[in-house]
């Protein structure tokens, strides 16, 4: 197995772009990533792409094929990965594997999405055998209601307050001011967050992420190739993919067979623990974390579930501002999903771009001082999750 480097990254700013297709957004991200890597399109040997549920891909999730046709059909292999909101992370994992195996020297990873307006509609079919359809039709539990239930339980177990939740949103937007790719680049006050409309009690509008259009790309290459291009590459310390365990206590359909209680988000926990193990690094070695903050609740639950802090400690870190870029455990210095909005399948690659900029010291006003290693994580429909550790 050869070592894998992230040679270049690129992003299209996030927002709503009525006049652009998802392939337009991807072209912008890919072109930026190639330029950043100092690599021409003709040098790319394979593409691993996130499959979109909402846009392009000829309706079959063939978004990687769209990108190749758009950039110039060179006959290279394309891998389209479908994994809900984890698709970008899955594509990154496959891209790494293609390089690590020695099969290819230069691989492009890309994820882009144009989201329909409003809240994400998870079920695509009206069939009684589709668990997502049953969940939505028979009960009517939206994504935010689902997060709300988990958050409410945490509030009862750990005394989490509305102020804790709001403070996380305020931190996210304070970071986004320094990120030119973010959709919302302005500071939010505690009052603004705490008076925003209740979406699903206990979660308010500014405590969940909106949906956005956006794209991100990364050029991965072998150690041999990287050394020809740069003296300071960012390395992939590890990349891991996992799915949920049977004994997970979250009702992913209308019921969970094994409510064992504390085992929640098992797919994310498995992916992150595998990534730490493969990297030979632990929670304490992470200079920063880019985690999937669809809701501020995840910034409290995930760090504990992955051993980054003790159970119940997350609120204390938030109170003391320790999750800011200069704190003890910087979380989402990019501004996170809260500030970008979720372009679902792009997000795993979006995280890789931010981690890369941070590790190179190119993150400007949101820079984590002396960042040496960082963790990225996604979680998606179907019990999918991914984790990546990048290091200098």
């Amino acid at each position: 197995m050869t070592e894998v480097a992230v040679l270049g990254v690129g992003m299209h700013p996030f927002g709503k772009f009525e006049d652009k297709s998802v392939t337009d957004l991807c072209r912008s991200a890919v072109t930026a990533a190639l330029a950043d890597a100092g690599v021409s399109w003709r040098e790319v040997e394979a593409v691993a792409a996130a499959s979109s549920r909402f846009s392009g891909g000829k309706g079959w999730g063939l978004n990687g094929n769209d990108v190749v046709e758009d950039m110039g059909s060179t006959g290279i292999p394309v891998y389209n990965l479908s994994a809900g909101c984890s698709a970008g992370g899955n594509a990154f994992n496959i891209g790494c594997t293609l390089v690590a195996s020695g099969l290819h020297d230069v691989v492009l990873v890309v994820g882009g999405e144009k989201m329909p307006k409003g809240f994400i509609q998870t079920s695509g079919v009206e069939e009684a055998t589709d668990p997502e359809f049953l969940r939505q039709r028979c009960v009517g539990v939206s994504g935010p209601a689902f997060w709300g239930m988990l958050c409410r339980r945490r509030m009862e177990d750990f005394g989490t307050t509305e102020e804790h939740l709001a403070k996380i949103a305020v931190k996210a937007h304070a970071n986004s001011v320094h990120n030119p790719y973010a959709r919302f680049r302005k500071p939010f006050s505690m009052e603004q967050v705490l008076t925003s409309p209740m979406v699903c009690f206990p979660l308010r509008l500014y405590e969940i992420c909106p949906v956005s259009d956006g794209a991100a790309a990364a050029v991965l290459c072998s150690a041999r190739f990287a050394r020809q291009k740069t003296t300071k590459p960012v390395w992939v310390a590890s990349s891991a993919v996992a799915t949920a365990r049977f004994d997970d206590g979250i009702t992913r359909h209308v019921a969970a067979a094994s409510p064992t209680g504390p085992t929640l988000h098992s797919e994310a926990k498995i992916a992150v623990e595998k990534a730490f193990e493969r990297a030979g690094l632990g929670p304490r070695d992470m200079s920063l974390v880019e985690l999937q903050d669809n809701t501020v609740y995840y910034e409290l639950a995930f760090p504990e579930e992955w051993g980054l802090c003790a159970p119940g400690e997350a609120e204390r870190l938030v109170e003391r501002g320790e999750t800011g870029p200069t704190g003890r455990l910087p979380i989402n210095p990019s501004g996170g999903f809260q500030s970008f909005g979720e372009a679902t399948t792009a997000m795993g690659v979006f995280q890789v771009a931010e981690l890369t900029w941070q590790l190179r010291g190119e993150a400007g006003g949101r820079q984590v001082p002396q960042a040496k290693a960082g963790l990225g994580q996604t979680i998606g429909l179907g019990g999918n999750a991914t984790a990546v550790v990048l290091k200098r």
Binding site: G118, F119, I120, Q121, S123, E126, A128, F133, L134, R135, Q136, R137, C138, V139, G140, V141, S142, P144, A145, F146, W147, G148, M149, L150, C151, R152, R153, E156, P197, M198, V199, C200, F201, P202, L203, F246, G249, T251, V254, A255, A256, A257, S258, P259
Partner: protein
Amino acid sequence: MTERIPVIEGLFTEGPEGPRLLGSRCVTCATPYFPKSLACHNPSCTEGRMEDAAFGPRGVLFSSAVQNYPPPPPAKYDEPYRPYAVGMVDLAEGLRVLGRIDTPDPSALRGGTPVELSVGHLYRDTEGRDVVTWQFRPC
């Protein structure tokens, strides 16, 4: 009288003993399933022979939230929209089930509250029928 129809056939019953969820249980490892499952999904299960089982009515609320805004399709609701509580309920049979919580004060619900299964109004369909679903109410 208004015709009353279940949101989906075969998911619950309203027998003389009260409402029950219709699922199945693995004879081999005792894992409960709702809705019915043709196979046992427990990776530690050796055989996975399934039998029909009915669940409820007793349970304990694990947690709840309020659907303050109208949910996206394929959810259905009456106009004008009225917020409702949803919760995860741990049934005595070892099953954690999602359901609406029938309560006048959704934001006052707390985890650990004993609840019981009931069947209640979900929406009125285009033919004016009362479409009902399973739900829970504090008891």
